[in-house]
Symmetry: C2
Subunit: 559 residues, 2 copies
């Protein structure tokens, strides 16, 4: 790609908008886009992603915001499109670096406030409430919103009137004729924007591998109605704590069948309470069950909503499946519904949980066996409808792994958008939008910043490489004290090893390793040489005798 | 469960058969069953399973055969039902412990021989060829075979005539009216056995979550025909190296479209060659392409079959996707077909490979997008058909994770087998089959033995726990040399850490940790006390300052 100085246009020209993707393109999660024009930058979303298998010990992954930090004075707003973790989860880590006002709808800010409170950042944060009818005047950006239907209420798309034309950031959406909260994606408004002339559309690619429309929440309600209606005893339903729409459906269905509803699991309780307070969730008419009531009401009168749909080790459902959750004991006669799709990478943990639930003798309904979940993301037909309504000149597929972006682009070509008007790009690749051209510019700093415990960004390639090495084969450390003057060995050799062989049963191996050390000591004099050859000889010895390659740590002290 | 001494029957009675499951029940892979009667034990299959995420550094998992080892003199035969890894892969590790004759069909033994040769065990092994018509007289067991249709040719079910009645071990199968090699599952024989009266059936549960029949290989052939027929350039197809049937289909389809076929990847080349030699694969009429021909023939005349369908890091396809495979360079115009289902746990690796292939601009057809694979395992209707044909008195669902065993049992109940005649059991749970009773007996030693490098079984719970600890947070080791007489510190404190923080940027942390060490040294005298408190204080300090819990290794030497 061109770097900016080979570029024939004046990039600081005030009618140019620079689109700067910092997360969510070519990966699952940590969504973040920035838009820059003149002296203003608008950031849309700041999400986390969950660490992949090879990111050992990492708790969370957030976007690298070096580009924004270097221009913090220009950042006029961070706009949140909805309250899911992959859109708001990085804010507690990023806000201290940017400290711009944060705009969000009532539910989104409600979820964010819980999060900022935990990080003791609530007081400093400048949170500003918007709704679908708000208008913001942010320098060159005139910002408006469009209500979108998603698996959480109160989601909005962002409409930016810019000197380069109308830019739509349509985040996560689907076209559902019967959503749980009754509020449809605002198609009339999307069509009106299309009539006005859309210069650039950014649109969700998550489900571009799935044909058809994403089924309506109403179809799911029928399934739940059937399952809960005929369940002989207690019903337990696991879903994401942020899936307020699903929770609402379960409450509605439960009431219809004369059942009371309880919620359990910390995040589920917090979110439910907050959503009820803000008016996004209609609580059961006589409130939620207490733990006592969950256990002492007749089972056929009880529905319990909990976390754990991804097999998360500390979640309520997983602890129940292992008999480690004191508030609820599961067994024969209970019905468990897992109402969520597996996030790729979680399959094994989910299967383990399912197997444990089956061992308890409960009746289990889950994704692979039964349609107990509908996605919050639009499928191919939803994506086409978005294109039909908005008729953009140019498309950037966002939110998805690389193949999903490509498939979204393929769909757009089939809809008549010329190939050169579709930018399949990845994080960091800046796109410049001028009044009569759209072109790639330079690649800016981007990537993944790891959160591990209290550390943000201090675990990098070296630490991870060491963790992977230790994880596979452990380490073997040899300590030797040499007389500074004579070079005689006066301490050791002592050998410590963990994760390599079981020390208590590897006496012979340790003795032989010491022989290797003595041999090196006999052959070399200088400490540097000794260390160097200890490293090589011990590595060889370990591989020859075990087929493994532990990390070798020679430690020679002169006394 | 009862242990044997509370059991009211004489278990050594010569008309009792003990069914001893040692692998594959409640897990995916490492299939192994034993049948014991009087002084004879027959073992069926000896498979591996791939390590799960938390089995760090482990290469393979094999069954624990302590029960068989203790009775090695009784083991009359190891019978292999087919040549897949989860049925034969553990033999190189288990054969040295048991050294019994190994029975298998021609293709199965061909695959096994390759494996034993690599382990230098071929000369000692006593391999005995069988076919579907063979009969073996193994003491109290009269053994016959039934041809079964699976995703590898030459698979057989095992029929045992025993003093307790007819026992069928029906391993992996499906009912396919049009298999690639034209040989159907022998339904007439299954029905005849059913007429005779089957005391106990053991039957595959892998696909018990899937309704209907598993589609025929013929349906897949139509899909391949269509894709290969219209592909504009080169076609690359990835599947398991053991999927000889699929390889045959691709060869057939390619010839029909005037394309030549090449194979690449070590295991694919070895297996193809062996299967052609043994007559299980019809090679293309003018042989396989050389590497040169793959590259210099017009692309529209070429099909290449390779490994890598699971995203295995060293496979041909994965190296191609990263541009690291010199023999074949992929790009625009190429068509890639991934003809295999993801093994649970491999999804992420597969997705990463797909994304890289998309980045190269190739056209990709894969499981989530297109029906380019059919399973080798029967679905619910196949399982029902097996029950209908054999009409067993008793069923033990085998081969599957726990939920799959339960769902198979549920199916059998719907087919009219009473609940008490179905044993949903896990590894180690012995079932005793007498002439007029079938009951659970004791649980015998069982479990997972880890192969890591050259070590078989030496990596256990302690080593794995250490590896997990090191993987998450690394270690911090402190070394101190004390004067034996005065107790003064004469060496150190020296701190070494890996995988915890990036040492080069953590000077302050290391200095503060040393302060913690000095503080402990000031307060305590005895070496034991010092070690004890170093451990606690350093752990506290690390957690307070980083939120992490590295393994703390205090190392105090008296000089």
């Amino acid at each position: 790609m061109n770097s900016s100085f080979t570029f024939p246009f004046d990039i600081s020209s005030s009618d140019t908008v620079r689109v700067i993707p910092l997360g969510g393109l070519g990966e699952f999660g940590k969504n973040m886009m920035a838009f820059e024009c003149d002296d203003a930058i608008i950031v849309i979303d700041a999400g986390v992603m969950f660490p992949e298998e090879d990111m050992l010990g990492v708790d969370l992954v957030i976007p690298n915001v070096a580009y924004l930090r270097d221009r913090a004075y220009k950042v006029k707003a961070i706009i949140l499109t909805h309250g899911h973790e992959d859109h708001i989860g990085a804010l507690p880590y990023i806000l201290p670096q940017l400290n711009a006002p944060v705009y969000g709808t009532r539910l989104t800010l409600g979820l964010l406030q819980n999060k900022l409170r935990e990080h003791r950042l609530l007081d400093e944060a400048d949170l500003r409430l918007i709704d679908a009818d708000s208008r913001l005047d942010l320098g060159p950006f005139q910002v408006e919103f469009v209500h979108l239907c998603h698996s959480i209420p109160d989601a909005v798309g962002v409409v930016m009137r810019t000197p380069a034309g109308l830019i739509l950031h349509m985040t996560d959406y689907k076209f559902d004729a019967h959503p749980a909260d009754g509020r449809l994606t605002d198609e009339a408004r999307l069509k009106a924007l299309g009539d006005e002339g859309v210069r650039l559309l950014l649109s969700d690619s998550t489900n571009s591998e799935t044909p058809g429309y994403t089924p309506s929440e109403q179809e799911l309600e029928r399934v739940l109605d059937n399952l809960i209606g005929r369940a002989p005893g207690r019903v337990l339903l696991a879903t994401f704590a942020s899936n307020i729409s699903r929770i609402q459906q379960v409450i509605d269905v439960a009431e219809r069948h004369g059942r009371k509803v309880g919620v359990t699991g910390r995040s589920m309780i917090n979110n439910t309470r907050m959503a009820v307070e803000l008016g996004y969730l209609r609580a059961p008419s006589d409130g939620f069950l207490t733990v006592e009531q969950m256990n002492y009401l007749p089972p056929e009168r009880v529905v319990i909503i909990c976390t754990g749909s991804q097999g998360e080790p500390t979640s309520a459902l997983v602890r129940m499946s292992q008999g480690r959750f004191r508030q609820v004991r599961l067994g024969k006669g209970d019905t468990v519904i897992i109402s969520a799709a597996p996030i790729p990478g979680n399959e094994k943990m989910i299967h383990r949980t399912l197997d444990n639930l089956f061992r308890l003798g409960a009746d289990i309904y889950y994704d692979e066996l039964f349609d107990v979940h509908v996605s919050g993301h639009g499928s191919q037909e939803d994506q086409k409808r978005m294109l039909e309504l908005t008729r953009p000149q140019h498309l950037i597929p966002i939110h998805g792994e690389y193949r999903q972006l490509v498939l979204h682009a393929r769909l757009a070509r089939e809809m008549g958008i010329p190939e050169q008007n579709i930018s399949v790009i990845e994080n960091g690749q800046v796109i410049e939008v001028g009044p009569d051209w759209i072109m790639p510019a330079e690649v800016v700093e981007n990537g993944r910043v790891f959160v591990d415990g209290l550390g943000v960004g201090d675990v990098g390639a070296v630490v991870l490489r060491d963790r992977r090495h230790l994880a596979n084969d452990g380490f073997l450390l040899v300590m030797i004290g040499l007389d500074e003057e004579t070079g005689d060995v006066i301490v050791g050799p002592e050998i410590i090893s963990r994760g390599f062989v079981y020390m208590a049963e590897a006496e012979m191996l340790i003795e032989e390793a010491k022989e290797v050390v003595w041999d090196v000591l006999d052959r070399y004099e200088s400490v540097d040489e000794v260390i160097n050859h200890l490293h090589r000889s011990l590595a060889d010895y370990c591989f020859r005798s075990t087929g493994r390659r532990p990390m070798i740590l020679p430690f020679v002290v002169e006394l």
